[in-house]
């Protein structure tokens, strides 16, 4: 058991556990907090995979921006109290069944497709430093990159428009 494996196991355990807790927490605020921890652990995975750039972006976007949005929304709606009525038992049972089913199927698929994956070979080439990524992003993916920015702009406008209070019509 190498150190790295231990780190991976720990991180994975944190990820899964917090994900579960996110769903099962009765209080949305707690859910949000757990989700932040989950995202941090995923960022840890990114670091483990040696992609520092993504890890940082991930923390900024998810843990920073998105989660703040979530928290604000929750607070705005004043949902910190537990008000939710649980779903009927049959629905919950169905949810669990489908969870198991989809797990099983996806895992089965990946096991099935293992021969395709093949052996892992390192060439030692640099492919994920910020420098390389930057080049790829701004050469090859220049246009999508710009589109992404337009998307964000549109999203911003849309958000403003949606959350603006409509005038009451008589």
């Amino acid at each position: 058991m190498s150190t790295i494996l231990i780190i991976f196991c720990v991180l994975s355990a944190v990820t899964l556990a917090t994900a579960f807790l996110t769903i099962f927490s009765r209080n949305p605020i707690h859910s949000a907090i757990y989700l932040v921890i989950c995202f941090f652990s995923i960022a840890g995975h990114y670091l483990l995979l040696n992609s520092q750039f993504l890890a940082i972006v991930h923390i900024i976007v998810y843990s920073g921006a998105i989660m703040i949005l979530f928290l604000f929304t929750i607070m705005l709606m004043n949902l910190n109290e537990e008000k939710e009525v649980h779903r009927p038992r049959i629905t919950r049972l169905g949810a669990i069944v489908s969870f198991c089913l989809i797990c099983l199927i996806l895992i089965a698929i990946f096991i099935n497709s293992k021969p395709i994956v093949g052996e892992y070979v390192t060439t030692g080439e640099d492919y994920q430093s910020i420098k390389v990524l930057g080049k790829v992003l701004l050469n090859e993916y220049m246009v999508p990159f710009e589109f992404a920015s337009i998307l964000l702009l549109v999203a911003m406008i849309g958000t403003v428009l949606l959350s603006k209070k409509e005038k009451l019509q008589k």
Partner: protein, 627 residues
């Protein structure tokens, strides 16, 4: 030259038709009548030219104008064939046609639509000429159907009366039943011999060694059905008496002299075919004899002057078919010609009477017209003598020959035909006596206006009566000009023997005596006993059955017309809505399914998501695990 003249022959009446139909109302009545008459007279004149021309060309003149219809195994040209038979027919069609046109100028002068009358009449002559001179069965069929159409138009000429229109419609439809038969015959001949041309057909049939006799018989029988329709034979005869709804000159031209003889013309034209099918010939003979008898019996008790003549026509046509069935085509043709003369004369005479009585047709309301209308009386008497078979008049020769032939072939048929001719003599003189003798039985108003018709009416009568008297000369027993003339058409005439033995004289005597007996009975009853037929309601017993024409119309109505109409209503009301409901049923089914399916789409996002996940599982597992 011949082509142009043939076209002139054909198109002169057509031109008359066009002029009258397009400009008739502006031309004025007299002019329109003159145009109509002249158009036919031109054809008559041209016919004389051809009559002379074909004397030099025994095989006839064949003219092909253009290619008309194309069938996979043959082509049909639009062409003419002017040979002895067609010229003979043309002579009396255009000849009697001209006379009747002339007659009509006066007869129809009071009618507001006189120009239309002449237009239709000209069109009729045009189609009749087409029928007669067509070089193949299909061109003949144009004329065949065309005369049917004109007959429809002219029977229903007084179209404000729906009963007349019914009669016109009936005539057209009954004719069409026959036409279907004719078409079927044409199809079979076309398939068997790959031609419809009379000349080629003749060579093909006479020259062939391995003929398919079964199909040949079927074809002949089908053609005979066509002839039945046009020439009013059992079972398709009922339209002809009804056709008397038309103006009387029309009855004379179409329903006595020309159109109804088309069936005889066609069978004579195709004699080479019918000669090969003895079974069909037997059927023709029997149908002819039975028709002659049945129509004669009905004629015995009719009171409408034109109805008597109509049944007499049916009866005489039956005799002609009898002759055809016995293979004596020349005899049938002979009778057609003499019949055309005396029957046209009779019809025109009755028209003169009706004209004088302002539309009265019931003989019970006539009588004693002899003095008022001497010329009409004289001409009609001559024609009646002719039709009754009194010696030296034309009918005697032709009828006698039919009876002779019948006697030689089949005694029972001879008996039937003889009885029919005795009856003919009886009812014709019944007609004469009731109309012209004794006292006038009509209203005083009518009596006051009684007068002899104008020369335009009497001249044709006189001409026809003359012809009815001397018509028999064309085929005297033992020395027949007609038989010689027709030899190119009927080759076996060349070898036939013409001798008159004791049997023949005895038969002749029997026929003459029979005819005189018929006249005598009529004289005894209507002159001596002064009998007048009773009112409709008072007719009883077998006479009532006869008076109602054996209830054949009612019978046809019950088994054909009513069921078809019932079926039509049934289809319209039940089947149509049923089928419609079936189609709508599919729509309703879809609606119902969709209504049930709609319940799944209850708007719950949870359910949608659940379905989505399940669907995802299904698709993914199918894509990756199924292989």
């Amino acid at each position: 030259m011949n082509t142009n003249l043939a076209l002139l022959l054909l198109l002169a009446p057509f031109l008359g038709f066009l002029l009258n139909i397009l400009f008739g109302s502006r031309l004025g009545k007299t002019l329109s009548g003159i145009i109509g008459t002249m158009a036919v007279a031109v054809s008559f004149a041209v016919t004389f030219y051809f009559f002379g021309a074909i004397a030099a060309i025994p095989e006839g003149i064949h003219i092909s104008l253009f290619e008309w219809i194309q069938i996979s195994n043959f082509k049909v040209d639009f062409g003419f064939q002017l040979d002895q038979l067609s010229v003979l027919w043309l002579l009396f069609v255009t000849g009697i046609g001209s006379l009747i046109h002339l007659y009509s100028i006066n007869y129809m002068y009071d009618d507001e639509n006189m120009h239309k009358y002449f237009a239709y009449l000209n069109l009729f002559v045009f189609f009749m000429i087409t029928l007669v001179i067509g070089s193949n069965l299909l061109v003949m069929f144009i004329g065949w159907e065309g005369v049917g159409l004109c007959s429809y138009l002219l029977i229903g000429f007084w179209h404000k009366n729906q009963e007349f229109n019914d009669a016109a419609k009936k005539a057209f439809i009954m004719n069409r039943i026959g036409d279907l038969g004719l078409l079927i015959g044409i199809f079979i001949l076309g398939m068997l011999f790959s031609t419809l041309d009379f000349a080629t057909l003749k060579t093909a049939i006479s020259g062939a060694t391995d003929l398919n006799m079964y199909w040949l018989s079927v074809a002949a029988f089908a053609l005979f059905i066509g002839a039945c329709g046009k020439s009013a034979q059992i079972p398709l005869y009922t339209w002809l008496p009804d056709a008397m709804a038309g103006p009387t000159p029309v009855s004379a031209l179409i329903h006595a002299a020309t159109m109804v003889t088309a069936g005889i013309f066609m069978i004579t034209r195709l004699n080479f075919l019918f000669d090969l099918t003895p079974d069909v010939q037997n059927i023709i003979a029997i149908v002819g004899a039975v028709t002659a008898l049945v129509a004669a019996t009905i004629g015995l008790v009719q009171n409408d002057i034109k109805k008597v003549l109509a049944y007499s026509t049916v009866s005489q046509l039956g005799l002609m078919f009898l002759a055809l069935g016995l293979g004596a085509y020349e005899v049938a043709v002979f009778h057609v010609i003499t019949h055309a003369f005396f029957k046209a004369c009779l019809f025109l005479g009755s028209g003169s009477v009706i004209h004088a009585l302002h539309g009265e047709q019931d003989m019970r309301n006539m009588g004693g017209l002899k003095k008022a209308m001497p010329i009409t009386f004289a001409t009609m008497l001559i024609a009646s003598l002719a039709i009754s078979g009194v010696p030296l008049f034309s009918g005697f020769f032709s009828k006698d020959e039919i009876l002779l032939v019948a006697f030689h072939h089949n005694i029972p048929l001879w008996v039937v035909a003889s009885i029919a001719s005795i009856m003919t003599a009886f009812y014709m003189f019944r007609l004469m006596f009731l109309t012209f003798f004794k006292e006038f039985r009509g209203t005083a108003e009518q009596k006051h206006h009684l007068h002899e018709s104008s020369p335009l009416i009497t001249i044709p009568l006189i001409v026809l009566a003359f012809l009815a008297t001397i018509g028999g000369l064309i085929s005297l027993p033992g020395n027949s000009w007609l038989n010689e003339y027709l030899t190119p058409i009927l080759p076996k005439l060349a070898t036939a023997e013409h001798h008159l033995g004791t049997t023949e004289y005895i038969l002749m005597a029997i026929a003459v005596i029979g005819g005189l007996v018929g006249i005598g009975i009529a004289y005894a009853k209507y002159i001596k006993q002064n009998a007048v037929p009773s009112e409709d309601a008072a007719i009883t017993g077998f006479s009532k059955v006869l008076y109602n024409k054996y209830y054949v119309d009612e019978f046809y109505d019950a088994i054909f017309v009513k069921p078809i109409n019932f079926l039509s209503r049934f289809f319209r009301d039940t089947v149509e809505s049923g089928l419609s409901a079936l189609v709508f049923g599919f729509g309703k089914l879809t609606n119902e399914i969709s209504y049930q399916g709609k319940k799944v789409q209850n708007g719950s996002i949870g359910l949608y998501l659940f379905a989505f996940v399940l669907g995802l599982c299904a698709i993914v597992s199918y894509l990756f695990l199924a292989q």
